[in-house]
Amino acid sequence: MNNVQDLTQLWAAQEKQLQQSVRLNTITLNEIRTHKAQHKMRGYLGLNVFSLIVGVLMASSSGYFILTHLDAIHMVLSGAVALLWSLLIFVGAILQLEKLFTLDYTKPVLDVQHKLNKIRLSALYFLRISLMILPFYFAYLLMFFDVVFGVDIYVLGDTNWLISQAAFSLLLGVLAVYLYRQLSPGNINKPLTKWLMQGFGSQAMEAAEELNQLEEFERYSEKKT
């Protein structure tokens, strides 16, 4: 054997020979049929259903908060921030579930593997959305104090305190954008991203690496239209 061509030819000949000796066992077809669906995707289904429920509950609560505070614009804005975030979680979960339920192994390999890796990165998607809360923490603080203690901290707080909160929000905004960008599957080889993603386990790391591999393969091989 001197090159790949020789090896490939030998391999093909061997496969042909082996194929002759494979027998079909027709008796067990009935037993095969009774097997339940595989559970490999159950974890992702659970995570996305949970996120969907959280999204619905948060959106309803935020909507209710807005309706009951129409007289105070800062409260309406706080409610709107929470509502927007809940809707992002809700829509994200719906999109992930749609991917899960429409996964069809008879479709082209690149499409299916793309979808599968996106599903495996569900947790990362929700973490990235959650980061968006950071610069808007004050909205949640306002709502919390209003709902739990019946206190409007925006009215009670003095100007300097409010300015310091705004400055802190700005800092958190910068941090959120930085972390959001770092937590992209494309940055998987960077130490910080690796460290941040450790919490999701090896599955997410592998999915990110594979997604990159897949995208590189697609970039290289111009996709059919």
């Binding site: 054997m1 001197n2 090159n3 790949v4 061509q5 090896l7 490939t8 030998l10 391999w11 093909a12 061997q14 496969e15 042909k16 020979q17 082996l18 194929q19 000796s21 494979v22 027998r23 079909l24 066992n25 027709t26 067990t28 077809l29 037993e31 095969i32 049929r33 097997h35 339940k36 669906a37 595989q38 559970h39 490999k40 159950r42 069809d104 192994y105 008879t106 479709k107 082209p108 390999v109 690149l110 499409d111 299916v112 593997q113 599968l116 090896s202 599955q203 592998e206 594979e210 591999q213 897949l214 393969f217 697609e218 290289y220 091989s221 111009e222 996709k223 059919k224």
Partner: protein, 163 residues
């Protein structure tokens, strides 16, 4: 579930059992994995059988299901083992002979040098599929299949045969 459907499925398996074994051998590293993978592919084919698109060549369809199952199978051994349905049921019996084991080891060593997608492409190429058929399975253009296959061959000749 009609007997007719069963008969059609059996005929499909009997026609394309070689694809199942070739893919399973190329994506698994031991006999146990190979057995599990053949079973996974068979189950997936059975589940997808109703949605078979007659516009697609049967071998292309079988290859799509087999490759998608194999690539997913390779992903996480621990997850797979945790959730794998343990069974002795095998719709396709194992080959009566093992072939040239030395050759298979050599081929596996060579395939391990390729990423999952290049490997898929090379397996189909070595099985005699034309570029259009490989393009249908993967969804890249036939001309790109040609370019990639020749690069894969160059890569393997260089890395594996030092040529």
């Amino acid at each position: 579930m009609s007997n007719e459907k069963e008969a059609r499925f059996e005929s499909l398996l009997s026609q394309h059992k070689g694809i199942l074994y070739k893919v399973a051998r190329s994506y698994s590293y031991c006999l146990e994995d190979q057995r599990d993978l053949v079973q996974d592919i068979t189950l997936q084919l059975w589940r997808s059988f109703d949605s078979y698109d007659p516009d697609l060549k049967l071998s292309t369809w079988v290859y799509r299901v087999a490759m998608n199952t194999a690539i997913s199978f390779l992903r996480s051994d621990s997850i797979r083992k945790k959730y794998h349905i343990t069974t002795d049921v095998m719709l396709i019996d194992e080959p009566q002979e093992n072939g040239n084991e030395e050759l298979m080891l050599e081929i596996q060593r060579m395939l391990q040098r390729l990423n999952k997608f290049d490997r898929a492409m090379f397996i189909m190429y070595s099985d005699g599929l034309d570029y259009a058929a490989i393009s249908d399975v993967l969804k890249i253009s036939a001309s790109n299949v040609g370019t990639r296959v020749s690069r894969i061959k160059q890569q393997l000749n260089k890395e594996f045969f030092n040529r």
